[in-house]
């Protein structure tokens, strides 16, 4: 490896005056080494919730102890941007758990390997890439929801909203928090679903009105729900999983599925075509669509890719499945950049709360 020998040369040069620095370098060059003892390390980029990662990688390593997963986790927008920015020099081997629209964008940039995993035909057709050169495969769907804090609502005398339109009512001014779609996948699926259900002009009008009620936009999609759970805000526009989980923990939350229908997004898996660990990557992707994996997904998500697996999730609103809008992912992927920059111009940093 020329880079590590160059590194050693540098160390040697500096070490002429400092043996301590040499010790520092020595330790770190050792860590640069690749696979040892036949264990392959895969760098996996993900936007899954952090509390899920551990159970996923534990279950996977039960079946494949010779593959070790190194997770890089951040919110959807960030992971997407990171992958695009690293296009010339990709660091990831596999993407496991990222929004379908993001993967479509990467497919159009020719970053993904073509691969149809074993048994992919068993999945619900919504959850697989049906093109000639399949390059992604779905896991589950995550669904938008409103987290509504009943205690805070009593305190401020707020009625329970039942629709997206309700959220623009003056009574909610300053009580609503939503994720910034530029960094959060949940934020983007909200924006994209409003534009699809209300139409372009009415969609932006709706967001203009909603903006006057928003107290702030957050980086991550689960934060608004967590803020609602702890009473920092009465209403958090978020998704169903953290809400259901927090209700289980005793948070005074109601999960509202708005009557107009809710945006949703596939979480999916793909292999980077630049990986030099293709075999291990394929093993991981094959595993990711097994019934065993889908059972794990079902712990947090009511809708999963493998038919017949999904059981009702505790505290999860039952009507979720029927309220999912007809989502045009091609459209959402193609117009992503344009929508996001329009959103930033309109709402980001323009109105500062008085303080």
């Amino acid at each position: 490896m020329s880079m590590s020998s160059n590194l050693k040369t540098l160390c040697a040069a500096v070490a002429a005056s400092s043996t301590l620095l040499l010790a520092g370098c020595g330790n770190d060059t050792a860590e640069l080494g690749g696979s040892e003892n036949g264990i392959t390390e895969l760098t996996v980029y993900t936007a899954l919730e952090a509390d899920l990662l551990k159970s996923y990688s534990e279950a996977f390593s039960e079946d494949h102890p010779n593959i070790k997963i190194n997770w890089v986790r951040d919110s959807t927008g960030t992971i997407t941007a990171k992958l695009l920015a690293e296009k010339e020099n990709p660091q990831a081997d596999v993407i496991w758990g990222l929004a379908g629209t993001s993967l479509l964008k990467m497919k159009s940039e020719d970053m993904l390997a073509t691969y149809a995993p074993e048994n992919v035909e068993k999945l619900d057709s919504k959850f697989r890439d049906n093109s000639k050169d399949p390059s992604w495969v779905g896991m589950d769907a995550w669904v938008a929801a409103i987290c509504f804090n009943t205690e805070e609502a009593k305190k401020f005398n707020l009625s329970k909203p039942t629709s997206w339109q309700d959220l623009t009512k003056p009574e909610y001014k300053g009580h609503v928090i939503m994720p910034n779609p530029n960094s959060s996948g949940t934020g983007y699926l909200d924006v994209s679903s409003w534009l699809q259900t209300f139409g372009d002009d009415k969609g932006w009008d709706y967001m203009d009105n909603l903006h006057t009620n928003i107290s702030r936009y957050t980086h991550s999609g689960s934060k608004p729900c967590k803020l609602a759970a702890s009473g920092e805000t009465a209403i958090g526009i978020s998704f169903a999983y953290p809400g259901a989980k927090l209700i289980g923990k005793g948070a005074p939350l109601d999960l509202v599925i708005p009557s107009e229908g809710v945006g949703w997004e596939i979480e999916a898996t793909a292999i980077l075509n630049t990986t030099d660990k293709m075999d291990a990557a394929k093993t991981l992707v094959d595993w990711s669509i097994t019934p065993k994996a889908n059972k794990l997904y079902n712990q947090g998500y009511a809708v999963v890719a493998y038919p017949g697996i999904a059981q009702p999730v505790e505290h999860f609103p039952a009507e979720v499945t029927e309220k999912m809008i007809k989502n045009d992912f091609e459209w959402a992927a193609k117009n992503r950049d344009e929508i996001l920059s329009e959103w930033q111009k309109r709402y980001d940093g323009k109105s500062d709360p008085k303080s």
């Binding site: 540098l10 860590e31 936009y217 967590k226 702890s230 940093g349 303080s355």
Partner: protein
């Protein structure tokens, strides 16, 4: 000595008598020493910053686009609005911090209040905390579910007022150190003169005290202003929709991976930092002549009113300081704020949350130890080179200058410049990207200036005769360094070491762009957990940083006390 040192290098190649050969090897060694130091500084400071500058003129595919990034920036109202916000925050924050810290420093130096050392110890607590801790604690005091929500005089803590309060806590000791030193250096004879001439206490204050520490005030203002406008952790946690330049860099780079725009915003953020840096340099030159050997140290007389005021004021500040820490600790132990206030350690189960788990905390300890060891060694070697190695005076000036510059470079800007420089596929050093080494190097450079100045001051205090005498005894200079100079500067070496450790533990700004898969850090974990809405676990991790920094600091105090008793006898005769 200079005569010998300046002998031409090539003479080394000629067959010479043993004695002469020794001297020439030594002279070559001196030169290699300085070359090694300047090489490290160029590779870890000059080249990365140049890469940043270049990138601000390139698009994401590295094509030269001239000023077009800057034009895009200036035509985006969401971004330019941040300039205005940043300046507003800088001005308000600086006024608040300087006035509170000045009053505190005045109480410490001009009154005889009881318990000065306790007050001083409490006032320095923020130095041991990540800046995010104060912001998180403030949420639990005055947030929408805060214990004292009604006491907050402004509409909401999420915004300018919250940032100002949190940053005032964190930057307070930085101002206090400078102002206390400056007030201490005032000549007591001026106060006598003022009294003899019949001036009252207020008149004396305005004609003696204030003018006497004007340079300290200017210097503290410059330092504090830079801290306030370049910190992003606090603005990120508690800023709400109040965007500032520092959060914009973070959003552009981390949120949208728009590195070119990040570079442009960095350039904008460098402007105020560089201006204050130049002011500070100018002031420090002026200040040196203020206190001379004839000056008399001022000793405050007892004065009931003055002392009572001092006690009340310092107690108030101490209460505020302690309540920030106590609330961070308390909230980290509460099971589910605000609905279940039973105490538990649930929030310390870092492995179940975003942010890298307990591994992040261990990583921080490794990184801080590495920064301490590598940084102290490098700082000693470069300061020694500047001060004691008698060749190439102009190169030594350059080394000194480069060592002072990092204080003006915001951590975020330094971190971003490291991405550009070290992550480039053409850089033979790119193997260090994502390892502990890059975190250590960036932290050493980020905190280089204070360490360098401390070490240079310590070396200056040693008599130069040591070198002349040992030289005439034909002892090589490095032996003198190892046997005489190094032992005599042990207190400064320890001080630099602990300074580096504590800062490496608490910093987020430079490392937030540089950590890799296996090198997630505790301070970054605090930020990420807060981002994900896990505020209480973020408070827990911030407390872990504070506790470990405090433990190491106490350990150091005990250790240095014992060591000084052994090695420092010469100082006290």
């Amino acid at each position: 000595m200079t005569h010998r040192a300046e002998q031409p290098v090539q003479s080394n190649l000629l067959p010479l008598s043993g004695h002469k050969l020794e001297l020439d090897t030594e002279s070559l060694f001196r030169k290699l020493w300085l070359i090694a130091v300047i090489t490290v500084l160029i590779a870890s400071l000059v080249l990365p910053l140049s890469a940043l500058l270049v990138h601000s003129f390139q698009d994401s595919d590295k094509n030269w686009v001239g000023l077009s990034n800057f034009i895009t920036y200036l035509t985006n109202p969401a971004l330019t609005h941040s300039i205005f916000n940043t300046i507003t925050l800088g001005l308000i924050g600086t006024v608040v911090i300087i006035s509170t810290a000045f009053t505190f420093a005045w109480c410490m130096t001009r009154t005889q209040l009881k318990g000065k050392s306790i007050f001083k110890g409490i006032a320095y607590i923020p130095l041991l905390t990540p800046s995010l801790l104060s912001a998180i604690s403030l949420i639990y005091w005055f947030g929408n579910q805060g214990v004292l929500k009604e006491w907050w005089p402004f509409e909401s803590i999420y915004g300018l007022s919250g940032i100002v309060f949190a940053i005032s806590f964190w930057a307070f000791p930085h101002a206090l150190i400078i102002l206390t030193t400056s007030l201490k250096q005032q000549d007591a004879r001026l106060y006598e003169a003022s009294e003899v001439l019949g001036a009252g206490p207020w008149r004396t204050f305005f004609t003696v005290t204030l003018p006497g520490c004007k340079y300290g005030l200017i210097s503290a203002t410059a330092v504090v202003f830079t801290l306030v406008v370049t910190d992003f952790g606090i603005a990120k946690v508690i800023g709400g929709q109040y965007n500032v330049l520092a959060t914009d860099i973070y959003k552009q780079v981390i949120g949208q991976q728009n590195f070119s725009m990040g570079a442009v915003v960095s350039m904008v953020l460098l402007i105020p930092a560089l201006i204050t840096f130049i002011v500070d340099q100018w002031v420090q030159k002026k200040q040196q002549s203020m206190f001379d050997s004839k000056s008399v140290v001022y000793q405050p007389e007892p004065n009931t009113t003055r002392d009572a005021f001092g006690f009340v004021y310092c107690t108030l500040i101490a209460i505020v300081m302690l309540s920030i820490i106590v609330m961070a600790g308390y909230s980290s132990l509460v099971s589910f704020w605000p609905y279940d206030l039973t105490l538990s350690l649930n929030n310390y189960q870092f492995d179940m949350m975003d942010g890298g788990g307990w591994g992040a905390f261990t990583n921080s300890l490794i990184m801080a130890t590495g920064t301490m060891v590598v940084g102290t060694a490098f700082i000693f070697l470069s300061a020694y080179g500047c001060q004691k190695i008698d060749v190439w005076p102009s190169l030594r000036k350059v080394i000194h200058m480069l060592s002072v510059i990092p204080s003006a470079i915001p951590g975020l800007v330094l971190g971003l410049s490291y991405i550009f420089f070290f992550n480039s596929p053409n850089n033979p050093l790119n193997g260090i990207y994502g390892t502990f080494l890059i975190l250590i190097i960036s932290s050493v450079i980020h905190f280089l200036t204070v360490g360098h100045l401390t070490m240079v001051t310590a070396l200056k205090q040693l008599p130069t005769e040591i070198e002349s005498v040992t030289e005439s005894m034909k002892v090589p200079f490095y032996v003198t360094m190892g046997r005489v100079t190094l032992p005599m500067t042990v207190p400064a070496v320890l001080e630099v070491g602990i300074y580096l450790f504590v800062n490496a533990m608490t910093t987020v700004s430079a490392v937030v762009f540089l950590y890799g898969v296996d090198t997630m850090l505790a301070s970054v974990a605090v930020l990420n957990m807060d981002d994900a809405g896990d505020t209480a676990p973020a408070a827990a991790m911030a407390m872990m940083i504070f506790i470990s920094a405090l433990a190491v600091k106490l350990l150091y105090s005990g250790f240095s006390y014992l060591l000084l008793k052994r090695t420092d006898k010469w100082r006290y005769g």
